[in-house]
Symmetry: C2
Subunit: 260 residues, 2 copies
DNA sequence: TAGTGGTCTAGACCACTTA
DNA sequence: AAGTGGTCTAGACCACTAG
């Protein structure tokens, strides 16, 4: 992120600088973005054709193509075969929210994960359903609390399939495993994870642990992880007080040039 | 989405079918994905080198390159210059949530937008701050209610810069403008929009309008739109009862092949 | 030094849209 | 028929990593 910023946002408006460390296709992306964000090109307008861009910027068709593909991936233009490439209007509905806003939390040295409880329990109906097992089957139950600067931030409850043959417990129990879960540095031999976010209300137990008010707003981030045979291996959810977290994003063009 | 499914998930494991309508690079992407999702390739493993893949599947370097770029974009592999391409472990933190889960709402014919109120008001401190204007400056205040099957779904409050020179009112007032805001079909001559999602609690006014309980959980989706001069033109927020909405996503490999 | 990924060329052929 | 985007080739040169 913090590389040399001697030549930020290349692409002289006029043309492509072949001496630059920035690849030609990136420069072209930035030039075209600049045209859109500055209003030279408005939503609905057609871009110059690919062959025109080739001539105009003295690059090969593949390079133009690559630049346009990137703009298309970023939702800035629409390409229609036989008609052309068009600037897209901004759609609120195209917005995406990234969980990696939480990244900073784990990088912070003042963040701490405490295991509140680990024990083997008999699964209730909901847990059995989520994990695809029978009610009363044994599962490992873990409660964790993530704090930053001594302040409670996330309360996590998780149920793991109990498999004596593959004692996943040890690795899961590491204090860092929550970080590993998020950042995937641990083994993470999962095939996939299904996540969902809901709005919820802090209950009595959560209020006590998170040191907040009963009835205050919170996010609930639920997760189910599956192994390579598509069988669930764990189910759990994070509770995060609403005043500690906010998901933010931008549609269209960010004020700074940094968007990749 | 629902095109001919005669040959779903091409790429015979063995090689690339040149007769297929599916492009070679897509077939290669699917083959490599299959290797990862089936466990043949595990997180941390190195992919065959690009020249190896060229020989193995009888395609040109650019085609291999394109396939690998796609896998890299999708967060499935990491490429390191000089070392190789590696299968990435699953990261919870890489999850993204898409607002377009709301798409279905607007496609539904039983969805209806009602304008509850429009008037010109004097901006309070918060509104003035958000819109970058002076306190007491006049703004247009709009309240809308979006219902589906007669059931309240979203409550929207919005403040627009009042500019007599450019009467944005008429177009904004159309019943469909909420849909236009989301789907960008209207003019949408905005340069960008900043969004954020918070967890919140339904207050008395909202409870009455949304026909829910005071104190129940809800999402608050706030938005500020900027024109091409980077000046705010509108600020507002949607309130959506928590039991009406849930954001879901998958990290890793979705059960069906559909992910684009 | 050998192998890897990163970029780029200068074309080619195809499918599609529009007139 | 002309113009557009979509795909693909068969190389080339470079920067980086490793032994």
């Amino acid at each position: 992120m913090n590389k040399e910023n001697n030549a930020p946002m290349q692409g002289n408006i006029n043309g492509i600088d072949r001496q630059s460390y920035e690849p030609a296709y990136i420069q072209l992306v930035n030039i075209l973005k600049q045209h859109v964000s500055s209003g030279i090109m408005r939503p609905g307008d057609r871009l110059p054709s690919e062959s025109q861009l080739c001539r105009q910027y003295q690059v090969s068709p593949m390079t133009v193509r690559r630049a346009i593909n990137i703009l298309s991936d970023q939702g800035i233009v629409d390409t229609v075969q036989g008609r052309g490439t068009f600037v897209k209007p901004i759609k609120l509905i195209a917005a995406t929210f990234h969980l990696n806003e939480l990244q900073g939390i784990f990088d912070d040295r003042q963040t701490n994960v405490k295991i509140l409880e680990v024990r083997i329990v008999s699964s209730d109906r909901r847990t059995a359903e989520k994990l695809g097992i029978a009610v009363r089957d044994r599962v490992i139950y873990i409660r964790r609390l993530l704090t930053r600067k001594k302040k409670p931030l996330l309360y996590h409850r998780e149920y793991l399939i109990y498999d004596p043959l593959r004692p996943v417990v040890e690795s899961e129990l590491e204090v860092t495993s929550l970080k590993g879960l998020f950042e995937g540095e641990g083994g993470s031999d999962f095939k996939r994870g299904d996540l969902s976010i809901e709005a919820t209300i802090i209950n009595e137990e959560e209020a006590k642990i998170l040191q907040t008010q009963i009835g205050s707003a919170a996010f609930c981030l639920e997760h189910i992880f599956y192994d390579f045979e598509d069988k669930p291996v764990s189910w759990g959810y994070f509770i995060c007080p609403g005043d500690q977290l906010r998901f933010a994003t931008t549609v269209g063009f960010r004020p700074e040039g940094v968007q990749d």
